[in-house]
């Protein structure tokens, strides 16, 4: 069971990393617009370009 002495601090460290990522994301405005980007990525192709049509 000695493995827990390493695993538990490791778990907390990983958790802290994800908290840091979350803080960064909020500061960076990643949550400001929850609807737009999901559509924007689909709209990048030009519709009229025959090459991109399936």
């Amino acid at each position: 069971m000695d493995v827990i002495y390493g695993l538990i601090p490791g778990m907390i460290l990983l958790g802290l990393v994800s908290v840091a990522v979350f803080f960064w994301a909020v500061r960076n405005g990643q949550y400001e617009d929850m609807d737009g980007p999901a559509h924007r990525i689909l709209d990048d192709d030009d519709l009229d370009d025959p090459d991109t049509k399936p």
């Binding site: 907390i12 909020v26 559509h39």
Partner: protein
Amino acid sequence: MAAVGESTRCFHCGLSAEVATRCEGEIQGVVRSFCCSGCRAVCEAIHEAGLEGFYERLQRREATLMPPPEAPADLDQYDLPEIQSEFVHSMPDGRREAHLLVEGIHCAACVWLIEKALGGLPGVDFAEVNLAQQRLRVQWGQEEVALSAILRRLAALGYAAVPYDTESREGLLRRQNRKLLFRMAFAGFGAMNIMWISIALYAGAFTGIDVEQRRFFHWVSFAIAAPVLLYSGWGFTVSALRGLAMRYLTMDLPITIGAWTTFGYSAYQTLWGRGEVYFDTVVTFLFVILVGRYLEAMAKRSASSATVRLLELQPRMATRLTAAGEERVPVRKLVAGDRVLVRPGDKVPADGTVAEGRSHVDESMLSGESLPVRKQVGDKVSAGTVNSDGSLTVEVAVTGSGTVLSRIIHLVEAAQGSKADVQQLADRIVPWFVLTTLILSAITFLFWFSKDFDTALLAATAVLIITCPCALGLATPMAITVSAGVGARRGVLVRDGRALERLADITHVVFDKTGTLTEGKMRVVDAVAVDGMEVDRLLTLAASVERHFRHPIAQAVAGDGRVKRYLDCQDAQSFGGLGVSGRVEGQPVLLGNRHFLEKQRVEIPREVSDIQQRIEDGMGVAVLVAVDGHYVGVLHVQDRLRDGADKLLQMLRGQKLAVTLLTGDSERAAARLVDQLGGMRVIAHMLPEDKSKAITALQQQGERVLMIGDGINDAPALAQADVGIAMGSGTDVSMQCSDVVLIGNELPKVSWAIRLGRQALRTIRQNIAISLLYNMILVPAAMAAMVTPVFAAIAMPVSSLLVIGNAILIRQRMRGEELRWM
């Protein structure tokens, strides 16, 4: 003769193209129909720019458009440095950046269109649309492109954009909410991790655990709980101490005492390597309380934005007439005695009197009245009102903070500032709750101290831990959040969650007349034809002439539902608000008031006077019609009652609420409305300032007032009232000042909203009762030193879950209410 199909849809927005405003345009070689010229212009601009992919994208998402908003006038002003300094951010490399609030964004296809179109403008570095907040961030080079050109481009595509200074408007509030979110997220992280450790400890307590491992788990818990208490719990600690310094027991005090004593006791246990620890309780407790606080903050609205919207109405630039000619100056530089030129479509820059010219001025923002008011030499005009047809020269009398508009802004600010935070139910209980807890804890300690110190400390702390006001902290925010959600789904948008509680014990309902109880739009309510003329024929003739004019009465006649088709009309001509004329099928047609027709040598039969008198007594407008020099009939044009107005008043009376009507019209006009709707008090001849004073007077009589309005002139009253409800079709300013917005303008929903408020208050009371009951059962157990960590870990969340569950039940309970009013 233009034939009209019944089911034509606008090629741009897809709405049915009504006869009155329909027009045709050629798009890529095909003639298409549009519901209005605005839609046609936008559609043409989109195709010219080669962005017709917009429509395909729109279709793919099955989204629908709306006709474009009216384009903001006078865009050139935004290029002036003194105006740009207010909202434009200059980069060190000479690029500029601004945030714009964009009206008219419907769906993701609009995002694509805006970004694509602006990105194509030379000099624009990037344009980024925030769909959720309807904002646009744009960066450009000042030398290559002017901001007005960017705004004009947006206007051509059907989007009205105004600069938006994010920092000054909501910077502080946003930073506070963000801090709260961080604190909540960190506590959440702590709670998740400490839970695993606790499960190991609880399992160990049952099956046996190595002493060394248990100590290790205790230390890990300590390592998680300490930063959570310091970071996430810091806000509570500070505000509790501040409250103590001001000798006031706040909710934060028991939270702080509970958290710190629990933590201190557990740390003490850990340090000496014995007994049980309660670190997990500290962390989950802070997390739950922070969730409640965050929900509360989300339900609150920012108070500042209303006045900012009002300021937006104030024109920034004026055309000053000097001996040398015209010059454009910022409004701030105008002084009394200056002469300014106000062209058609421009806003009047300052209060003053007309020195030259004659025109009609749209004063709807001040009076709520939709009909433009005639202005000639000597008449007074107000800043912010819109000049409609002729040019006016105005001699400035009052500028800046002295104008009527500024006074409204002041009133709104004053009302919002004076609205003391009504003590909420939970707040009133808290001091007693805190006091009782502290006393009980002290008694417990003294009682057990005579036996042994350890048990005394454990039992006293257990009292504090068990009474931690988790459920009490969630009681109000949960009920409010769920109720607001239920309201939003029914078209009742709750802007300030706390208003729901106030809505529950309203005693007096005050209505604005125009635009609220009535539609605020003119309609033909009756038509009388003589001389063998049929009513349909009369309306068709009138509509064929009137459709060439934009005056609200003309629009009412032209848009009448009984008109099936328009006849060709030549030489359509307007006589300055008195009447109009035109030639239909070769016959001259005259429409207007009696005076106008008599002047054109039309003989008016005597009985028409009676009809006219009756119409005008009710504040309607009588439009007399003559064909070929002979009087043929009269149209009764009037603002109509909104659907459901009578039903609402019936329901309000059923709920035993007093009703008052405020109107700027005469008593005579209001009396007619009262005849239709039944008993209510009427206060007539109301100026915008008087409306809020009337509300204050009611409040001083001890009434709790609900105000329902729609116009800018209602804004001070909406802010002053205990609860303000705005119509969704109303002005932005009125919505910003109100606590609740009726999205669909359905009046009966006011009554429903009151019932929703009552339901919310009832649920809050139940929730408080649940949490108090929980304490009454568990506190004796804690005082008897019978509470173990496992027991606490199970019992504490139960109370929170009960409160949350009870709040969610609001949905079911309101379902029954819905059936009652439908």
